[in-house]
């Protein structure tokens, strides 16, 4: 089966999961849909098309709250079944509300923020030590980079010259209790990563060709520098009444909002 990672379909899968499981965190899943689609479609290498091959590329979703977007991709990969999607949050099922490494294709248990970046850095460092050509991609949230351990990991990645590491910052401008500007100002994220020794690119996190070009450009540079993509995104992207409305970090879909959101996606 051809895997196209169509972003409309991925968002519809997220809505299906969120509705059937009566779950939250829709907005932060929608902001990383294009990033994940480009990674899965064009960049992540899984030898034998299996999730646990030792020479696979690593994708760490450090902002584990957006995991429904990854589940949608893993469903398209065929590593999650339609029953997994349909039965989301049912008692006794495997898919939780935050990324969990016991799920095939999910590398790291995250959700406690600031952990996944360090683990991804460790995996990239392991690949560097083994002299494999594996890449490690880590997606962090902008709220997540409040955590001090993120900057510990950034120092380590730079010191150990991990040029097989690309961290993508999902800069959607919101965290749990409000905008990042209101809660804890981040300033210029790209400049911060540059100051920590990263080669950095800022782009539109919903423009697939920009994302694709940036990843191609960064991963081909074996210049001893870790890489950062600062992706300007919209929390809730794709459904007008969810966009930039932080309530969709917490709100569950009703039959009406589910139908309205699906109809809007269908029109696009």
């Amino acid at each position: 089966m051809t895997q196209v990672f169509d972003t409309k379909n991925l968002r519809k899968t997220v809505l299906d999961m969120a509705f059937s499981g009566a779950t939250v965190h829709i907005g932060c899943a929608f902001s990383i849909i294009e990033i994940l689609a480009v990674l899965y479609r064009n960049h992540l290498r899984f030898p034998d098309d299996t999730p646990a091959h030792p020479n696979r590329d690593y994708l760490v979703l450090s902002k584990g709250h957006g995991v429904m977007a990854q589940y949608a991709c893993l469903h398209e990969k065929g590593w999650l079944s339609s029953a997994d999607i349909k039965n989301y949050f049912k008692n006794g099922t495997q898919l939780k509300g935050l990324a969990d490494a016991h799920v095939p294709g999910v590398e790291v248990t995250s959700g406690s923020l600031g952990h996944g970046f360090s683990v991804g850095v460790g995996m990239a460092y392991g690949a560097q030590r083994r002299e494999t050509n594996q890449m490690c991609y880590v997606i962090v949230g902008d709220g997540e980079i409040n955590e001090g351990s993120i900057w510990e990991a950034a120092l380590f990645a730079s010191h150990f010259k991990l040029d097989n590491l690309i961290v993508v910052v999902d800069e959607n401008g919101f965290q749990a209790m409000g905008s990042t500007e209101e809660v804890l100002k981040l300033g210029n994220i790209m400049e911060k990563f540059i100051a920590f020794g990263f080669e950095s690119i800022q782009l539109d996190g919903h423009n697939e060709s920009q994302i694709n070009d940036a990843i191609h450009q960064l991963k081909s540079k074996k210049n001893g520098k870790p890489k950062a993509i600062i992706a300007k995104t919209v929390k809730g992207k794709g459904v007008s009444f969810m966009e930039n409305n932080n309530i969709w970090h917490y709100t569950r879909l009703s039959s009406e909002t589910y139908a309205a959101a699906m109809a809007e996606l269908e029109e696009k």
Binding site: S118, G122, S149
Partner: protein, 299 residues
Amino acid sequence: MRAAFSEALVAAAKANPNVLLLTGDHGYALFDAFRQECPEQYVNCGIAEQNMVGVAAGLAKAGFLPIVYGLSAFVPMRVLEQIKIDVCYESLKVIFIGDGAGVVYSHLGSSHQSVEDIAALRAIPNLAIYSPADRHELAYTMQTAMASSQASYLRMGKADLGDVHSTIPDSDMQAVLPILVRDNAKTLILATGAMVSTALKLASQRRDVDVYSVPCIKPIAKDQIYELCKDRDNILSFEEHSIYGGLGSGISEIIAGNIICNFKIVGINDKFSKYCGDYHYLIDYHELSHQKLEALLNN
């Protein structure tokens, strides 16, 4: 004991190229031999313990065997959540070394003392906790941790109190080990770490006290401890750790509801070290000195 630790590390790294020693910028002289003999396997992660444990988890996922070294006041205390989620939840094999456990860093104060590390770790699944009493138990616990498939925490306390064994123990690692055993002694001391030496000295002056060392705090030797405890008049546990959540708690969970006896948990009695002083001063301050415990036994 520190020489034994250094030797064990070098031997482990030479036997397995996947062994990596990670340190949070600690262990200056301790790692001289390691850095000389296995420089490629030595990774100073800087003063960034949270990241160090995350990196260790990532390296374990990538097929390495990380040994993470820190002062026990920082590893595990500062990185408890990373140990829980990054390592233990995913059943990864990482060996944590917490050095200077108890009140070893007496002059430096409570920031560098660690009397709550066992309590903090005991509730985390998929993690063994070792507390060696001398260089022989150190070698023995390192071997066991290396051979295990799961994560381990090795608690290194006061290291220069002399040997309590004449050789490396030859038994199941989870066993409680005899140190001084008499005929029909009605008092039993179960001690761990540096306090085994204290228990041995106390018992040497008496005829009615048996001493056993407990080098493995978790999993604890339930059946053996039950058998040792069941016909005693008095049982005491000795540890250079809080009276809450350590060896004494582990023993009380075994005997509670099963054995009627006098049982006393001897440890740090829920207080910080208020004053500066040397190790022996603080041990006496916390009522763990030979003199204070002799008075306790006489009562």
